[in-house]
Amino acid sequence: MEKENYTISVYTENNIGLLNRISAIFLRRHINLDSFTASVSEIKDVYRFTIVVNITEEQVKKIIGQIEKQIEVIRAFYHKDDETIYQETALFKVASNLLFENRQIQNVIKDSNANIVTVTPEFFVLEKTGRRNEVESLYDKLEPFGLMQFVRSGRIAVTKEKMNISTVLEDFSEEAVG
């Protein structure tokens, strides 16, 4: 089976220990995490982990089973790239003198659809949001000028299909009462 990028979305109760449990599932199977992002979700008190891995579909199915087995996981899903809308954000810290002295860098910035977040006499910060290749292409263009700092976030993604977490939660609560 071919390896592919899978975006795993895990809906969880707010619990610090869960991070450890979930990362251990990957670690134990020697699966590298391409990125891992934790945030709140559309539902109050429900957290969402967005994990990107490059594995086979058979592997990702088993991983989902192991993740859902954790007590405080409400539901986990996996999606291929074309089933999600996904973005990453990168910040580039560049010396300010380049901005004023080098016309080429001005063109790079203009063409890149990046935002200038801040400018100080010493440095300016560019923010670029997009897909990995867009961020990488800007990196390649800016790198020859010299980057003071670079950082890129993990992927965040929403799916084209419905997640129905609220329904799942209602189902759980009914069972707990009954």
Partner: protein, 577 residues
Amino acid sequence: METQVQTQKKETIMSTQRMTGAEAVIRSLLAEGVDLIYGYPGGAIMPVYDELYKFQDQLHHVLTRHEQGATHAAQGYARTSGKVGVAIATSGPGATNFVTGIADAQIDSTPMVCITGQVGSHLLGSDAFQETDIIGISTPITKWNHQVTKAEDIPAVLAKAFYIARSGRPGPVLIDITKDAQFGELDFDYKKCNGVRSYKAIPDTDPRSLEEAAKLINAAKQPMIVFGQGVILGEAEEELKNFIEKSGIPTTWTILGLSALPTAHPLNMGMVGMHGNYGPNKLTNECDLLIAIGMRFDDRVTGNLETYAKQAKVIHFEIDPAEVDKNVKADVAVMGNVKQTLAKILPMVESAKHDSWIQKFKDYDAIEYDKVIKDELYPSKEGLSMGEVMRGINEETNGDAVIVSDVGQHQMMACRYAEFTKTKSNITSGGLGTMGFALPAAIGSKMGAPDREVVAIIGDGGYQMTIQELGTIFQTKAAVKIVVLNNEFLGMVRQWQQLFFDKRYASTEMTNPDFITIAQGYHIPATRVTKREELQGAIKEMIASDGPYFLEVCVEKENNVFPMIPTGASVSDIRLS
């Protein structure tokens, strides 16, 4: 009666009373119906022990001689009683000594609640005396774990712990309680937990899966059942019996499923797996339908997956969705507790007999009997065999005993040759293969089933891993019958060295102490048997004794367990010699 009423009254008044976290721990355990716990005191758990002292008439504490012993005893107790086992220890080394027992309970799905003390919350992360991150350590080996730092959280967390440990596919839960939470005060109000929002204990059964499964069962010409511990944990022994008797399907088991079906049942075909029976393994690769019930296709069961039952359709009755398609792809997965699913499918299956198919099992059994079993049970050689010891125990106990085995050759002999008439009678460390399990587990097994005979079968290696629990037996007078099968070797490793490492016996030969003297040091009656003519009399005397008893049987040093599926080989490549 009058005293009972008074106690109840006292209970209600106390239940709204202000109390310490430590007292709340005890009251929570009592509210869960716990009357017996295993443990070892220490600095960070002292407030709870102080309360145990006050409640000793209601909650009996068994002091094991090592925290690992407490976990295995709690496991044994859980497995013979069907209740949640409870173990308690202090922080740091107390907690880390729990790790092996917790891992064992996790892989063998044993319901257990472990309570550990922890340093005060202001000291967390400061490398304080006896501070260890037991939550971090136990995360991958617990069904759930949680650290409590506030007294008021104790009742709800313990209620959740018991619910999670016992519901669905059971497992171990660890609750770590900081010392300040034990000293802190709360208004005690215990509410039993009957659900956790994000946790579905038992998955829904899709009615279509039952229909599809029934269709496959009714059409099968050569069906075969492999059941596991799910039958015991789900208390589905009767449902299994009804199902196999109506469908007429030959039935085999994993070592953790053993005893759920009486040995003498005409459809019992024996054990699958590495040292299982010849027919069940061979015919796994000839059946047209493999029905897995409450088992998880462990590698010791399947051998090489690439050549495992490839010709067969597979039905998997399972409670844990993560087990479906994990190792063996199921054509039909029937989710749910097997007690319910087997009862539901019963009216859908047609009455059948599979005489000529069953005859194949019998033919293979005849070969195995001739080449392996006969010599094991009735050896012609001078040296004693492990099999004949098991035969002797069967004769004296009529198959009514609980057999607790350790790990290694003697374990395989116990599982192959012990006869059972009752369920929850084979207690062994299956998944983790924990040497040292049997002696403490036997203590718990006896306390979980006080009216039953409990016989521990242990090798000379594993016995010395937890031999200190003789102290627990001496102190509690637990009437455990201990049989050490002494071959002066780590026998199973030696067998592999003989077969696969050209007889290079690296570090497997043991110079053993005088086990009789050691037992006598704990005032446990002890006998050593070296000759065949002494064996049966010694077993008889052991079984007849009222208290604990130690029997050492010096067996042939270099016997091997057969049949055997070499690692990585196919089940159908099972060897008889």
